[in-house]
């Protein structure tokens, strides 16, 4: 099979060209302060290619923060449905394998009991270009969940750094192949691999817990005092859930006047205080730690029952954004310890 390479400057040029096309949506890494965000680009967006990991995941490219799902007008003859904006082809550049690994998980969810054609259509039209990792931090734990710093799952193209200035492009899917063929001019250079380019191996990120053991403990310990101990400092925002590549809850809201309206799918999060509040005023998850317990239990237990996979890719984003100091890896490791103790 032919080998494909792309330089940083060509990648920037390609993304800018695509982003200038109004018939497409392009997402790429943009710097703000000390951090990088995967953001929607236009032809003028300044890309940042020198970063460890983006604050947000690639989730919002495919599962937008908000999305109209119904539009209507009231006429004297009755209700008239208005057309929804078309779902455009899109390119997402700049995630890591732990971003892309969320794609099959999200696909399972959105094609489960109800086929969410908004998500599924976008998924059909997206080309995901992933950067294999060259750096890690203490929050990374992809390997504990079957991932890898150079894993291909969910990507269409995987870029592996071979020189200071460029990547080798690995075709992962048919979509990826077609993308490279269409933009062959950008992938034509040959880059001689340089020495000393850092590359992460699986062993660089040791496996730190066993998820099946974690699940076992969660199933039996809903009321265990550990939950309160590890999550009492959670202050119940949605920072962790919104940057998470696999958190997928949404709310439906209506914005309407007497004559017209639009119904929107809108991100929501189980960590927010009002998520489970009943009309009666009762809230079955009235405390912060109860809500955080839900987040972990859903990911590490309930999700497995439904889809046979942990709903966490080990990207560590939630821990990085949480300024209350709630750290998912510490907590899951603690649970694993407890579970091990119980086994003996």
């Amino acid at each position: 099979m032919a080998e494909y390479y792309i330089t940083q400057s060509k990648m920037t040029a390609l993304l800018k060209e695509l982003a200038s096309d109004s018939g497409m949506e392009v997402f790429g890494p943009v710097k703000k302060g000390n951090d990088v965000f995967i953001s929607k680009m236009d032809g003028k967006t300044e890309l940042c290619l020198d970063y460890f990991i983006s604050v947000n995941s690639i989730k919002e490219a495919i599962f937008p923060r908000f999305e109209p799902i119904l539009k209507y007008k009231l006429r004297s003859e009755g209700v008239e449905l208005a057309e929804l904006p078309p779902i455009k082809p899109l390119v997402v550049f700049g995630g890591h394998p732990c971003d892309a690994a969320s794609i099959p998980l999200m696909k399972d969810l959105f094609s489960w009991d109800y086929k969410d054609h908004f998500y599924l259509q976008r998924l059909e039209k997206v080309v995901i270009i992933t950067l294999a990792c060259v750096e890690k931090d203490e929050n990374c734990f992809c390997t504990s969940l079957g991932g890898s710093p150079h894993g291909e799952t969910g990507s269409d193209i995987l870029l592996e750094r071979v020189s200071k200035d460029g990547w080798q492009a690995k075709i992962v899917s048919e979509k990826g192949k077609k993308f490279i063929e269409t933009h062959l001019d950008f992938f034509r250079d040959t880059i001689t691999p340089e020495k000393g380019i850092p590359k992460l191996q699986d062993k660089d990120i040791p496996v730190m817990f066993q998820s099946d053991r974690v699940k076992k403990w969660i199933e039996k310990n809903f009321d265990h005092p550990l939950w309160e101990e590890v999550a009492s400092n959670c202050w119940s925002c949605a920072a962790c859930t919104y940057v998470c590549p696999t958190c997928h809850c949404f709310d439906i809201t209506d914005d309407a006047t007497m004559w017209e309206g639009v119904r929107t799918k809108n991100w929501d999060a189980c960590t927010l205080p009002f998520f489970t509040k009943h009309a009666s005023g009762h809230n079955p998850r009235s405390q912060s730690y109860e809500r955080y317990r839900q987040r972990i239990s859903h990911k590490y237990s309930y999700y497995i029952d439904l889809f046979n996979h942990v709903s966490c890719t080990g990207c560590g984003r939630c821990s990085r954004v949480c300024k209350a100091g709630v750290n998912i890896l510490d907590i899951v490791k603690r649970i694993d310890e407890e579970s091990k103790k119980g086994e003996k």
């Binding site: 703000k32 908000f66 400092n233 949605a238 991100w267 209350a324």
Partner: protein
């Protein structure tokens, strides 16, 4: 911090408090909140320049409010938020034991250098506490000297159109996670205006309209109340410079109403009172 651990153990052992909220270390250059309920946990308590969290924010939580007495480790700036809670009748003084820490400065949120807020600090030495720990730190700014926020200058110098463009760009990253609200010691409403839907005042979509309205309302509800702890901005995952909004309103309160929040629990927050001779140049 022998002193702190000792005091904490005393408070826990004597059952004077049901819970103590303090800091534990989080890596080499970090600290995070610690909920202490027994003397063993108290061993982990620390205090240093990485202790950024304003722990007073936990006092607004229903489960913490339900306890008989709670101790909290607090720096001068954090205590300013406690003073506001007192003057707004949100806590009872008897239910809280303040362990005030003298404090020269904390690091900036990215872990380097002195935190911007510390350059305007007037309370290096806790102004209201049940016990003060740590060596006294010389105060650098007189209580009655108006505070000047250098970072506002750039914004104030922009044209109206430039400011509009600046904020639209910044706020486009707001994902409506409400971390700013949850971390703020003074955003204590049981039901925030953004969670009301009959009628719905704030568009809950993370679109330009919703993000603009949300950030207007959050800043406005802190007008005359914000004590410049900087938590909202620090916890914002989108790096939105929220303190520019808060500080411009602090500046306004200072200029128009000679008011700085969080020093005196007996004084009246400016939006709960008025003077007949208040400035009204902007009214026709």
């Amino acid at each position: 911090m022998q002193e702190l651990v000792k005091k904490a153990k005393e408070l826990i052992e004597s059952k004077e408090v049901d819970l103590l909220i303090g800091y534990q270390s989080d890596g080499e250059k970090g600290a995070k909140p610690l909920f202490v309920k027994n003397t063993q946990q108290a061993e982990k308590l620390i205090f240093n320049q990485y202790c950024l969290n304003n722990l007073v924010t936990y006092l607004k939580r229903p489960d913490v409010k339900a306890l008989k007495k709670v101790a909290v480790v607090a720096k001068g700036c954090d205590i300013r938020s406690f003073v506001m809670l007192l003057s707004e009748n949100q806590v009872s003084r008897d239910a809280i034991f303040i362990i005030g820490m003298t404090c020269d400065h904390v690091v900036s949120p990215d872990g380097t250098g002195e935190n911007e807020k510390c350059t305007t600090c007037k309370v290096h030495n806790p102004h209201l506490a049940d016990v003060v720990l740590g060596a006294p730190v010389p105060e650098k700014i007189a209580k009655d000297k108006p505070v000047h926020y250098a970072q506002l200058e750039k914004l104030n110098a922009m044209s109206q159109e430039e400011r509009w463009a600046f904020w639209q760009e910044e706020l486009s990253r707001c994902i409506r996670c409400y971390a700013c609200r949850q971390a703020c010691p003074l955003c204590y409403c049981e039901r925030c205006i953004v969670d009301f839907n009959t009628p719905q005042w704030i568009d809950t979509r993370s679109n330009p309209r919703g993000n603009f309205a949300w950030n207007i309302v959050r800043a406005l509800h802190l007008a005359g109340r914000c004590i410049n702890c900087g938590e909202c901005e620090r916890v914002c995952p989108a790096n939105i410079p929220l303190m520019l909004l808060n500080q411009s309103l602090q500046e306004e309160a200072q200029e128009k109403f000679a008011w700085e929040a969080g020093y005196d629990p007996e004084s009246q927050p400016p939006l709960t009172t008025f003077r007949k001779e208040d400035d009204e140049d902007f009214i026709r």
